[in-house]
Amino acid sequence: MSAERDASLPNPTKWLLIGAVGLIISFVGFFVDPRMASFCYLIGLIFTTSITIGMLFLVMIHHIFDAYWSTVIRRQAENFLAALPWMAVLFIPLFLITYLYKQDTLWIWMNPDHELHGHGTVGGDILYQKKTWWLNETFFWIRAVVCFVSWVYFARTFRRNSFNQDKDGSAEHTYSSRKHAAGGLVVVALTWSMAGFDWIMSLEYHWFSTMFGVWFFANSMRAALAVLILVAAFLVAKGPLKGIFNTKHLHDLSTLSFAFTVFWAYISFSQYFLIWNGNIPEETFWYNFREEGMWYSVSMFLIFGHFLFPFLFMLQFPLKTKYPAMVFMACWILFMQLFDLIFNILPSLKIHGQTAQLFHEPLGFLWLGASVLGGIGILLWAYWTSYHKVKIIPIRDPRIGECLGHNH
């Protein structure tokens, strides 16, 4: 169907160039303004990785429930999985930047001599000493490798099964995917939470929240669903999915997106509520940082912009079935998703002795924009490359007929 390149669809190379420009600016930033640039790079990397991991979850959920309504859009999620190995490559600069400076560019606990505000160094901090069995450099990098290896393994398995089924139509591929989904959901849930703990939570290693992994999961699902809605709307508008992907499919995607909006709010609220209620200094300081100055506005913006507005918007049935409305909402959710990551990551700069005033520092905008652009460029490059190689829907999936007739 789409084996030969359709000229009206984006050229992958263009996206590779855009990504490369973004990444080069980010790399320049590592030398000009190391801390700010590497924090922004972390935000950009996690933003794009969370989209791909969300896609991985969607594919696994599809297989484990033997779903039929999502068959038509599953191929696009699989195309996004092609970006996962590249996300692993994009993680390498974080390793390099850590050792380029005195190991405390991002994760301060990596440098035992790092001066803590008001009380000694990291090495002498009892809260760090008790956590060294988990928070030590060797184990940290091993965990990152384990994460990426397991994600890439599952991504490749689902892609291979799905593409091979296009060729021979055998149901064996579906069974294989279902078995892998059962194991994969457990493994990816654990590794993705671990990634959240390691990459974001350990930026402020005093702080801990058991909700954090679930928040990370909810966030990545929201981002992935938003991207999937955008891609579906784009492919319907451009023609390839026109008449295949109908408004009922859109409604289902939107409903799932709505469900994860509520889930995100539930998790975020519970995290705040437990910390507020417990009132323990090791936990509350994290939110105290986020209630000072402009971060207070950001917090409020998250409550109303990331929950209340999408909630009331997607509560309405007519809006969930209209492309323009859902395209707007998907863009909005992606934008707020980025804000949520900024909210979670950037205030940690404060314990580096810098005041985290991203919005008062023009260069911060540049680094953030460059890293997000770099990540998105690589993501879409991998997506379109994969898109042009395979069929637009899993044409010989046992459930595809049922899915195309989905209208009630």
């Binding site: 609220f269 705040y272 509520f273 507020w276 209620n277 009132n279 509560l315 049935f317 209208n407 009630h408």
Partner: protein, 176 residues
């Protein structure tokens, strides 16, 4: 027959009754219904049914529940009998939230069920179709359609010939 309820037509297959329903819809009848052994997908469209009004009941119930939860906790903890616990404020939306949230869900569920009953005119202990023994076949393998005599377009002879034009297996009058 002054107290005639309407005209009943029997069909053999789901496809037949779907087509008949489309014709009745296009003829502009308002007070009519179909009786089938199982839900037929696409029947809503064939009958020209609009989206249900139940969600409106749900949102009213949910909002009421949320406000009830918040004001209940405000009234008990911060107004009627002030209790200071652990140095927390007398009232804060944070600790009132879980209760309000649960009440939102509870009241939404109640309102949805009540709305469903009201819109379906339930409980309905009697329906003229029950007088006709053959309608029991609708719980097995036959499909029925009736047009009420209360319908503004209803006319004894015209409507009967219209219903016969739908190619039913049989047509009969329904007593009120």
């Amino acid at each position: 027959m002054a107290d005639k309820f309407g005209i009943l037509a029997k069909f053999d297959t789901p496809a037949d009754i779907m087509h008949a329903a489309e014709k009745v819809r296009d003829a502009g009848f308002k007070r009519w219904d179909v009786i089938t052994p199982f839900p037929i997908h696409g029947m809503d469209g064939a009958m020209g049914l609009k989206r249900s009004w139940v969600p409106r009941f749900t949102i009213v119930g949910g909002t009421t529940g949320f406000i009830a939860g918040m004001s209940m906790i405000f009234f008990t903890n911060a107004f009627d009998y002030k209790i200071l616990i652990g140095g927390k404020p007398l009232f804060s939306p944070f600790f009132a939230f879980p209760v309000s949230y649960e009440l939102t869900i509870l009241f939404s569920a109640f309102a949805s069920i009540a709305g469903m009953f009201i819109l379906n005119k339930l409980p309905m202990h009697y329906h003229p179709a029950l007088k006709i023994d053959r309608v029991a076949e609708a719980s097995d393998d036959k499909f029925f359609l009736y047009i009420e005599s209360e319908d503004p377009q209803y006319d004894d002879t015209k409507t009967r010939s219209f219903v016969e034009g739908l190619h039913p297996v049989e047509v009969s009058d329904m007593e009120a």
